[in-house]
Symmetry: C2
Subunit: 237 residues, 2 copies
């Protein structure tokens, strides 16, 4: 036991001042990555480690995929005031919105909007899909941080690849016009979680030319989406 | 491919109407638990499966610990209007507050309160610890849903076991008086995540006589805390 540590019942509580806890956590993560023989490219290190910090799951060191230069591109986007759109209110709660606002960006989640719920019901599609259509009408670069719904990724793919050919989205309600046929997300953080279409939706995005950070496989979540956004924000703040 | 499924690029997207996606996910989880030879007691099934649904991580089937009759106790507490206090705003965002309100309960997170930040700084303890002191002053049964900070669990333990003997909490600011020396949480959902004191803090609570749902080990998170609360709410709504 170090000085300040306390023996409580049968366990030892390590005493650390609050500001040291995160630092110590990252040291442990670094040590364990070395022990496991996992090397993370320098550029990706702070993001992958923050994801592990958020999940205590070292699987992410193997499944997180970064497109060429992704971290640099994402930093530049945020620095230049890009907005973030997420598909979950939990991720919205977790993203450091004050840090984002310093660069002129705003974070949005349209999932709880009544209008979105109504449109989704009428069309028998998910609210996440309709949310993406609403987000596509934002008149500035948008970083998509998808932590829950694979249907959000599928919708993004459809809007990029088949802008008017898709029967799943007749009557685009948010005013996308012909001149927007070349609409593309500025960046996709693709970390939905689950069992239905999650892996397939991620594979779809991996084949596009959109810069991305994607967690291959079933795992992900709103906490992972927020952790990635915050890891970027902390690096540029 | 079934009718409605779509071949996009090299992957197949299974078509399901929105209301079927969750149902299908739970079927897949059930099938995989059987394949893995994991049996979950009936009472715990809907909670453990929702946690796996939220994380795509089958480890939880092995590490989630329930005290005797925990699910029944938690249901009764919520039905009788207990409040929920959580240590993360992400969990607060995720908990179905409308469903909780139908029973008279309210969900709280004090982490972003300025007063909490100030007290934590003055005393060089975490905001989570001070939040627990504030929660202990709530004049009704409280379910604690801890998804982030082990220091929240340690503080709960201290308040139960050594109400006035702990130098870490001089000057309890929220008016706990002598008649409250027998203060106890009504229930602890203990799923903090991380690397410093997380396992030890959970072991502390496992030794108390407070009813609990705890995830042994390092894993957990605000998403897990919210999933457990919602799994209970969906069963009684």
């Amino acid at each position: 036991m170090k000085r300040g540590d306390r023996q409580m019942e049968h366990v030892t509580i390590e005493y650390l001042p609050p500001e040291e806890i995160e630092k110590r956590s990252f040291e442990i993560i670094t040590e364990e990555l070395i022990k496991r023989g996992i090397h993370i490219p320098k550029e990706e290190e702070l993001i992958t480690k923050r994801v592990i910090h958020t999940s205590a799951d070292f699987d992410y060191a193997k499944t997180l995929c970064y497109s060429e230069g992704a971290v640099k591109i994402l930093k530049e986007l945020i620095k230049n005031g890009a907005d973030i759109v997420t598909d979950t209110n939990m991720a919205l709660a977790g993203i450091n919105k004050k840090a984002l606002a310093r660069f002129g960006g705003e974070a949005h989640c349209f999932m709880a909007d009544e209008e979105i719920a109504l449109l989704a019901k009428q069309r028998n599609v998910t609210r996440a899909a309709v949310s993406m259509e609403k987000a596509a009408a934002i008149e500035k670069p948008v970083v998509f941080a998808i932590g829950n719904a694979p249907t959000a990724l599928i919708k993004l793919y459809e809007m990029m690849e088949t802008p008017f050919g898709d029967t799943l989205m007749p009557n685009m309600p948010y005013g996308r016009h012909k001149e927007k046929m070349d609409w593309k997300p500025a960046f996709i953080i693709g970390v939905p979680v689950g069992f239905v279409n999650v892996e397939a939706a991620k594979e779809l995005i991996l084949k596009t030319d959109i810069p991305y950070i994607i967690n291959r496989g079933r795992k992900g979540g709103s906490n992972i989406a927020a952790a990635i956004c915050n890891a970027i924000l902390y690096q540029i703040s």
